[in-house]
């Protein structure tokens, strides 16, 4: 039942590295993470790879498989041709630690920059009433397993390290959208700050993030585009511009 698979694995660290070829057994129904584990147990005891649940629920085993950002635990070996070599490499948008493991701390820093949920002050625990249809809009974004594949594929940072400080990335645009659409959140101006502080405007809606999302969240259509549209409404509404101008003058 077992057959041989040609696997090409990137091995190395921040200073040096390259692709190494191995031949490994593969059984029916196995995913790429299974064969990586077999290589680890039998040929390369110190091969570094992150993983946790092996069921597509935690978003730990993110890597690039034949150049495409994917979860190794949800990628069937059988989805490739039998004689095809499968190449696994670390996420390209983040600094390499070792082998298939990258430093994803960028994402945790960005998470800290998004203002937290703000509950209505006069609404006691247990008193909240929300319609199912209203919570579902935000629930779509709360399905996010933080695999950061969308961050990895987003060309705004994938090819432009210099954009990182001013760009939160798709993962955090859906976080902002989730809070913005939360039926109870009281913090105002989430869309405006998305534009002004988190780089929403740098996104040019190529939808690469939506394509790689293992949870099939419609990142671009349901989060980014609606926020962009509203930002345009807010920023270029002549009446608002005028009153905004007055307010600014008053403050100074």
């Amino acid at each position: 039942m077992a057959r041989k698979l040609n696997l090409r694995i990137w091995r190395g660290d921040a200073t040096d590295g390259g692709l190494k070829d191995v031949v490994v057994d593969v059984n029916e129904g196995e995913v790429v993470l299974d064969v990586i584990h077999r290589v680890q147990a039998t040929q390369m005891g110190d091969l570094a790879v992150r993983w946790n649940c092996k069921a597509g629920k935690c978003g730990s085993c993110s890597m690039e498989i034949n150049g495409k950002p994917r979860l190794a635990c949800m990628t069937q070996v059988a989805s490739f041709d039998e004689d095809e070599t499968i190449t696994v490499t670390p996420l390209r948008a983040f600094p390499i630690i070792k082998d298939l493991v990258t430093d994803v701390s960028f994402n945790y820093k960005k998470a800290m920059e998004i203002p937290a949920y703000s509950h209505p002050k006069d609404l006691a625990p247990g008193e909240a009433r929300m319609e199912q249809v209203d919570v579902e809009r935000s629930q779509e974004f709360r399905k996010c397993i933080e695999c950061f594949l969308c961050q990895d594929t987003c060309h705004v940072i994938r090819d432009h390290e210099e954009n990182k400080p001013s760009f939160a990335g798709p993962r955090f645009f859906i976080r902002i959208a989730e809070l913005d659409m939360h039926p109870l959140d009281t913090l105002k101006n989430r869309k405006r700050t998305a534009q002004e502080e988190h780089g929403l405007g740098m996104c040019n809606i190529t939808k690469c993030c939506t394509e790689v999302c293992p949870e099939h969240i419609k990142i671009t259509d349901n989060a980014i585009i609606p926020m962009k549209e509203r930002v345009v409404d807010i920023k270029y509404d002549p009446a608002r511009m005028f009153s905004g101008l007055l307010r600014r003058e008053k403050r100074s």
């Binding site: 660290d13 059984n27 029916e28 129904g29 196995e30 995913v31 299974d34 680890q40 147990a41 039998t42 005891g45 110190d46 091969l47 570094a48 790879v49 992150r50 993983w51 946790n52 649940c53 092996k54 069921a55 597509g56 629920k57 935690c58 978003g59 730990s60 949800m74 069937q76 630690i97 070792k98 082998d99 493991v101 994803v104 945790y108 998470a111 800290m112 998004i114 203002p115 937290a116 949920y117 509950h119 609404l123 625990p125 247990g126 909240a128 009433r129 929300m130 319609e131 199912q132 919570v135 935000s138 629930q139 709360r142 399905k143 996010c144 397993i145 933080e146 809070l179 939360h182 959140d185």
Partner: protein, 628 residues
Amino acid sequence: MSQNLQKLKYDVVIIGAGGAGLRAAVEARESGLRVAIICKSLFGKAHTVMAEGGAAASMGNANSNDNWMVHFRDTMRGGKFLNHYRMAELHAKESPDRIWELEVWGALFDRTKEGKISQRNFGGHEYPRLAHVGDRTGLELIRTMQQKIVALQQADKAEYGDAEANLKVYAELTVTDILKENGKVAGVYGYWRENGDEVLVEAPAVVIATGGVGKTFKITSNSWEGTGDGHALALKAGANLKDMEFLQFHPTGMVWPPSVRGILVTESVRGEGGVLTNNKGERFMFNYIPDVFKDKYATTPEEADRWYEDQDNNRRPPELLPRDEVARAINSEVKAGRGTEHGGVFLDVSKRLPAEVIKKRLPSMWHQFYELAGVDITKEPMEVGPTCHYVMGGVEVDPDTAAAIGVPGLFAAGEVAGGMHGSNRLGGNSLSDLLVFGRRAGMGAAEYLKSNGSNPVSDATIKAAADRIEAPFKNQGGENAYSLHQELQEVAHNLVGIIRTGSELKDAIAKIAQIRERSQKVTVAGDRKFNPGFHLAFDLDNMLLVAESTAKSAILREESRGGHTRDDFPAMDNKWRQVNHIASYNGSEVVVKAQALAAIPKELFDLFDIHELEKYMTPEEVAKGGTN
């Protein structure tokens, strides 16, 4: 000792960033303490994310007859009355507040028509009780608390100019020892997984919230982190492990293809109306209703089907018996040759619900089967079988404060703590457990610190901890950790698994001791830099102590109850209900002794029908009618 030993100081260190750890951290920080959270993985990846069905809390949103007393009774029944009554009581009373509090932090649960939090049916719960978000409730809990941690950090930044001044997450850090000085907790020692550099965190209070032990077994729903670290750390620090013979085999794990064997299939499938059948098409659960539950479950498929529409006038389907009963039933069917081709049974929800409803209520199950097994659960049945899911046993704690018995300054909450679930946990009681007792552990630590200040760690203690970390690199010619781990999993699975016998347990104890001896010489390839072989060497050490505790507790318990089934003692024996097994570590091996179970007080005793108690208690106990 490594040259560049990093030294940190906190009031409280929390080991584990799953639900219990994060809830403890929130409580400790809000009590004004400086808190470090340590986790083996990235922040937000803990095994809690895999909890699917929901969190049990008697909010009464779906059925107003529900209240804490009904929940308490269900929990005690589910645990076959071996639970610590006080933990079950606190849990039942406090769960609703813990769920509502999550909503204040931004959680978005599914709703009832009135806009309240929706509650779903689950095995062993008399009323629909599980607050849920589709079938990804654990992810919602983790994310909500992760974001609450960030909110607290943002508040600290506003006040102190540094977000991490008083609350910091140390991710991908493994703790190898809990350190003590003068008989009290003094801190923890460990290493960064990224580069192997060592870390000393001095803190007079340590909360263990490390979850379970599933990776000791071959077929498990647990992620790689479930290696019993907290159980072993506590044992070695002088704490006790209680009830370690009780392991929950979840009745429904995936069985095919082999690479997904063990992955959880949520109980919600049955809660939403899924039925279990064997290869003859028989709905076999009607043949497995035990005497203690006879009057609470439907005896015909017709009545069971009516229950989904009218719960007040019909009894529940036997598919919703507690997990231990269902797991044993499936095991028996397969052993009798009535299993599926791949050694499971069929679970089918496609005939009960329309495809759109299945995809909406069980989205990740649909996804999981479609992508990993090529099965469309809206059209065809799933193949399922038991998988090692949860350990009821754990650190012996004081129920109110979560303080570990025998080790001042040590606390434990969540799956790693013992007592709450007795011999078997009900589905949904885990997420509520970790909220209730995570909070109590944070409070317990804060209270302890009012009268206990810093407790500096001596150089000798540091050296001993550092030497342990260096050992696998110094060893020559030993075996690798991967093969020893596989061997341990075979032994645990075959000899200490779902069905046990005295002779096999004896064999297991000898084999575990032998693997443990060989593990002392484990040799690691490569260097300290993100080296999974090196990491596994420490996990293995922990799993061996857990397996030893389980096997040695199991051989002593000569009856079958909950998550402990003895082929040679198949009946439940009311005399054994009065006994907990307490495992401790004498420096070279695990020693197990019997200890009297805390007796239930009169006001809780009186919540039950006396005839029900007669099924579980000796006539003398029933006559006594509870304490005080």
